[in-house]
């Protein structure tokens, strides 16, 4: 009993410490304009107001940034999940020329520093005049997302027994049919995790977007948020309100899908 109580108190303390930064953002986002810089530690500020949230959509192109982020993130998600679910299956079930080399290559890319692909891709995009376009950004994001997602899917397919397909093939079903009506549904946890990670990375990426997107109208949300902080005086109210809006869909998705995290994340298979 005492042990339980101690564990509970420890857990409570760590959790409060963990969510404290989140609470401070909520606090600042609710502060009225004349009290943004305050040394108060109260969670709900005096004279709490939604003024900052309204200002985002009224005075800033925040809605446009949301649209841009959604578009880019969805494109990367669909693209990466479709390619990873098929390529991962091939790597899991078939031996073909380049199989080993391919798997090694995918693993090796995980050691690339971000600049290793970003710099040449940036120069390529400049040559193709794709700087300041969604297409360029989507291409770079896919380059980062694909290797890991293929590994991830392959690892999960490996855990599905082959007998399932063999039985269906014996019954005369074609390869494609077996793949999409038997294997894909079974791989749902991994598909969900793959899609989630692709979406999250694209939705909240800053480092690449900062080089590829130049005009405010094309900004994704992270660039917009940074802009609030990089002007001479930080617009704390707008920044905080914006952060909350950027985070909510991601957190909701993440928590809703978190029950899949343990089963869908097949890290154990990285050893191949």
């Amino acid at each position: 009993m005492l042990k339980k109580l101690i564990l509970f108190i420890v857990l409570l303390a760590v959790t409060v410490g963990t969510i404290y930064p989140v609470l401070t953002v909520i606090t600042v986002s609710l502060r009225p304009g004349d009290r943004l810089l305050s040394t108060s530690l109260a969670i709900i500020p005096d004279g709490a107001t939604f003024e900052n949230y309204i200002a985002l959509f009224r005075d800033k192109p925040f809605a446009r940034w949301m649209f841009n982020s959604t578009l880019v993130a969805l494109a990367v998600t669909i693209f990466a999940t479709a390619l990873a679910s098929t390529a991962g299956y091939a790597f899991s079930r078939f031996r073909f020329p380049g199989h080993r080399a391919g798997m090694t290559l995918l693993l090796v890319t995980q050691m690339f520093p971000a600049t290793m692909l970003l710099l040449p891709l940036f120069l390529m995009l400049a040559k193709l005049q794709l700087i300041n376009s969604y297409l360029g950004l989507i291409a770079v994001y896919s380059a980062t997302a694909l290797p890991f997602t293929i590994w991830q899917m392959k690892g999960y397919y490996d855990t599905i027994p082959r007998e399932l397909e063999e039985a269906a093939l014996m019954d005369g079903a074609g390869y494609w049919r077996v793949f999409y009506s038997i294997i894909l549904p079974l791989a749902a946890p991994a598909l969900v995790i793959t899609a989630l990670f692709s979406f999250l990375t694209a939705w909240s990426e800053y480092i690449v977007a900062a080089q590829v997107l130049l005009t405010e109208n094309l900004f994704t949300l992270p660039l917009g948020l940074k802009q609030f902080q990089s002007s001479m005086t930080t617009e704390w109210g707008l920044y905080s309100a914006g952060s909350i809006i950027v985070s909510i869909p991601v957190i909701a998705l993440f928590l809703y899908l978190s029950k899949w995290l343990v089963s869908g994340l097949t890290l154990g298979s990285v050893k191949g």
């Binding site: 990426e205 928590l255 978190s258």
Partner: protein
């Protein structure tokens, strides 16, 4: 070609084409650049100049300081991630009231977009209005610290931010590992008279190892190359370019200083360092797996 070969090809070719275009080709291009003099001055008339950019990296005195700092950054972060994550996983695995809610709240740092994390923590380290100093002063009655004007303070701020961001991943991985440990093992250990610490050492740790090892290796590689937190918390390496790990230094060389050839060579060097680390690590694992 028989049927299953054709099917395999149909599955693999789209991904292969894309990867060739956005991974393999840029990789080769980067190699070429690393032997060239390309920069803002020589953007069109660049030419191959041999390994001179590599020499520049190795003769740059700051390289070794930044390399050391990167190792420190990686080791400190991964150590905290793994210890905090595993400790929390162990606690969450016990029958604690409200553990579902705790688990959900503790995943939050992983769920929040890193850009929000970094910029928020940067705000929290503000000298006058940041929550860290306010708590130091008001709750703990300490003198506030000039976090972001001081190289050591900024680096510490980056590490704290990244520790906060990274432990939930290790926690989830460890939780998954704990769930796969059969209960009879603990019962057998208890029968043999093992106390809690001995059970942890002889049952939990060895059983967690196969799950945690790949996570730790990945964590090491990811942290080594993690550019966004350092870049955003230190606002591009401030004060005076003193807060850099290797990859943020290259990012600056490439995109703020337009030293393309130099940055390309630097990227290759970082990559080789990580490759060497991984190969050594894999060999060690293999030797352990097959005792002489």
């Amino acid at each position: 070609m028989n049927n299953d070969k054709r099917f395999a090809m149909a599955l693999i070719i789209p991904a292969a084409i894309i990867i060739a275009a956005v991974v393999v080709y840029p990789f080769v291009y980067n190699l070429v650049l690393s032997f060239s003099n390309m920069s803002l001055l020589h953007i069109r008339d660049w030419q191959i100049i041999g390994p001179r950019q590599y020499e520049k990296v190795f003769t740059e005195p700051r390289f070794y300081g930044i390399l050391w700092k990167t190792l420190l950054w990686t080791v400190v972060n991964v150590t905290f991630h793994v210890t905090i994550g595993m400790a929390l996983a162990l606690v969450l695995y016990e029958k604690v009231p409200g553990k579902k809610l705790f688990r959900t709240l503790l995943i939050l740092p992983w769920a929040i977009p890193p850009v929000v994390t970094a910029l928020t923590w940067r705000g929290m380290f503000h000298y006058e209005y940041g929550a860290v100093n306010l708590i130091l002063a008001k709750v703990l009655h300490q003198t506030p610290i000039q976090w972001l004007n001081d190289p050591v303070g900024t680096f510490a701020a980056c590490i704290m931010t990244n520790v906060w961001l990274g432990f939930p991943f290790m926690m989830i991985v460890a939780l998954g590992g704990l769930q796969s440990i059969p209960h009879d093992l603990y019962e057998a250990a208890t029968m043999d008279g093992a106390n809690a610490w001995q059970r942890f050492k002889t049952v939990t740790l060895p059983m967690l190892k196969p799950v945690m090892t790949p996570a730790i290796v990945l964590g090491f590689v990811w942290t080594f190359n993690k550019v966004d937190i350092v870049w955003l918390v230190s606002n591009g390496g401030e004060p005076a370019d003193s807060t850099h790990i290797l990859v943020s230094y290259v990012y600056r060389a490439a995109f703020n200083l337009y030293r393309y050839g130099y940055a390309a060579a630097f990227s290759v060097i970082i990559f080789l360092i990580l490759m060497a680390f991984s190969l050594v690590f894999m060999r060690m694992q293999r030797e352990k797996a097959t005792p002489a």
